[in-house]
């Protein structure tokens, strides 16, 4: 992972309320804590939690002073949804990486015919940074529950970070009720071994 400003690593996690963005950021932050680093996070919750645009900033390093990632300084953008990736693409640094779930959720105004969903999202994202498209929702569906999309995508993110797999698995195991632990660990491992095709650019 490239070091961000002030040597802090910056990951911005975004998606549509209900997709598990906050859970993702909690797991990531916990993994960082277990690795003995300072971590700060800041998120949108409350009214956005069903269907709204949700973001969670996670920053870590030797010492982090503020939880909000400045524009253009995120090392990684982890997007659970395509349009949300586009909405926050400007936060990624030019040599950063955008992980985008191969999944779109139509906003109400698109469904009602009052607006259009953006076209060629990959093309637009590539103007900001490298794009890695991950079929996280498909992975989760094949493993039996689409609600694990977030953990599958987190698995992909782990490819870019230096934290040991054991730590990830330990934290995930503590994050879910007993019966969801094994499926989520599987989702994580599948995401962690998925090789994204070069999205070009």
């Amino acid at each position: 992972m490239p070091a961000g400003t002030n040597n802090a690593a910056n990951v911005l996690i975004v998606g549509v309320g209900g997709q598990g963005i906050i859970r993702c950021s909690k797991i990531l932050a916990e993994v960082v804590v277990c690795s003995g680093l300072d971590v700060k996070k800041s998120e949108i919750h409350g009214l956005s939690q069903r269907g709204g645009s949700v973001t969670s900033h996670v920053r870590w390093g030797e010492q982090v002073f503020t939880p909000v990632i400045p524009e253009g300084q995120a090392d990684v953008l982890l997007a659970m949804e395509e349009l949300e990736a586009l909405r926050y693409a400007h936060v990624v640094r030019p040599d950063g990486v955008i992980y985008v779930n191969d999944f779109s959720i139509l906003p109400r105004t698109v469904i009602s015919g009052d607006a259009d969903y953006p076209q060629d999202i990959d093309g637009q994202l590539r103007q900001y940074a490298e794009v890695r498209r991950i079929p996280a929702t498909e992975i989760a569906r094949e493993l039996g529950d689409v609600r694990m999309s977030n953990v599958a995508l987190l698995g992909s993110l782990s490819q870019s970070l230096d934290f040991p797999t054991d730590v990830w698995i330990d934290v995930i195991s503590e994050s879910f009720p007993e019966k969801f632990v094994e499926p989520n660990c599987n989702a994580f491992r599948t995401g962690a071994t998925f090789k994204p095709a070069e999205a070009g650019g």
């Binding site: 209900g18 919750h45 409350g46 009214l47 939690q49 069903r50 269907g51 139509l106 109400r108 105004t109 469904i111 009602s112 015919g113 009052d114 689409v146 609600r147």
Partner: protein, 241 residues
């Protein structure tokens, strides 16, 4: 839909009422597809502003009826004074108190209707309807937000009345009290694609390549979509599990 109180705004829109809203989550009804909030000032502002609307409407023929909308939490914050004012000044205003037993807009803090304090300790839930009666409102109705026909009938009746009236509209917040209220619904092939159900703003009703469908895992089982469908094309799904 995700939010059971959505039905209220569906009805207010059908009845073409003016809506004096407030800053709770029901203020989001100002956004598409409802566009059903005409004013938002502050907590308790909708129901008090509506008293001005009611006074002006009383002076004009064919005035568009208006309602004030407030949530349960806001009601306890700054709504009781508005009800007292409405009764004291004999204002023929109609107030809808949307009671979801939580403070949803700011992150689900408990409030006097919730039945517990913020630390989880049990606490007596206050009865909004009884409080309004005690304040002197003669026409107080308690209605379930999912009982669409009755809700519509009472809103129509009370907005015509020349005395103060209150509707306490009750439905859980699906983000706090989890679990479906009924079966998952599905759309049959007899769908005429009129798209009326899409205008409900329900997160579960979606469209893919022109085909309208209900997303299983988002459906709360409230049946509002089935209620608005003119072609009986939305029915409960037979649960296989």
């Amino acid at each position: 839909p995700g939010c059971g109180h959505t039905a209220v705004f569906h009805i207010l829109k059908e009845l073409k009422l003016a809506v004096n809203g407030d800053i709770g989550c029901y203020g989001l009804a100002a956004l598409p597809p409802y566009d059903m909030t005409d004013s938002v000032i502050c907590m308790g502002g909708g129901m008090t502003l509506n008293q001005g609307f009611a006074k002006v409407a009383a002076l004009r023929e064919n005035a568009r009826p208006a309602v004030g909308v407030v949530g349960d939490s806001t009601f306890f914050h700054s709504g009781l004074t508005g009800v007292a004012n409405m009764v004291y000044n004999k204002t023929p205003s109609t107030v809808l108190i949307l009671d979801n037993r939580t403070t949803a807009m700011t992150g689900h803090q408990p409030n006097p209707t919730s039945g517990n304090k913020i630390g989880g300790e049990a606490s007596p839930p206050l009865d909004i309807g009884e409080i309004c009666r005690a304040l002197g409102v003669k026409h107080v109705h308690e209605v379930d937000a999912t009982d669409i026909d009755r809700l519509k009938e009472i809103v129509e009746q009370e907005t015509q009345r020349d005395e103060p009236s209150v509707l306490v509209v009750r439905e859980r917040c699906v983000m706090v009290e989890r679990g479906r209220s009924g079966p998952v619904y599905q759309i049959l092939d007899t769908c005429k694609e009129c798209k009326l159900c899409l205008r409900l703003g329900c997160p579960a009703v979606s469209i893919d390549d022109g085909r309208i469908h209900i997303v299983d895992y988002l459906c709360e089982g409230c049946g509002l979509c089935a209620n608005v469908c003119s072609f009986d094309a939305i029915v409960p799904k037979q649960e296989s599990k």
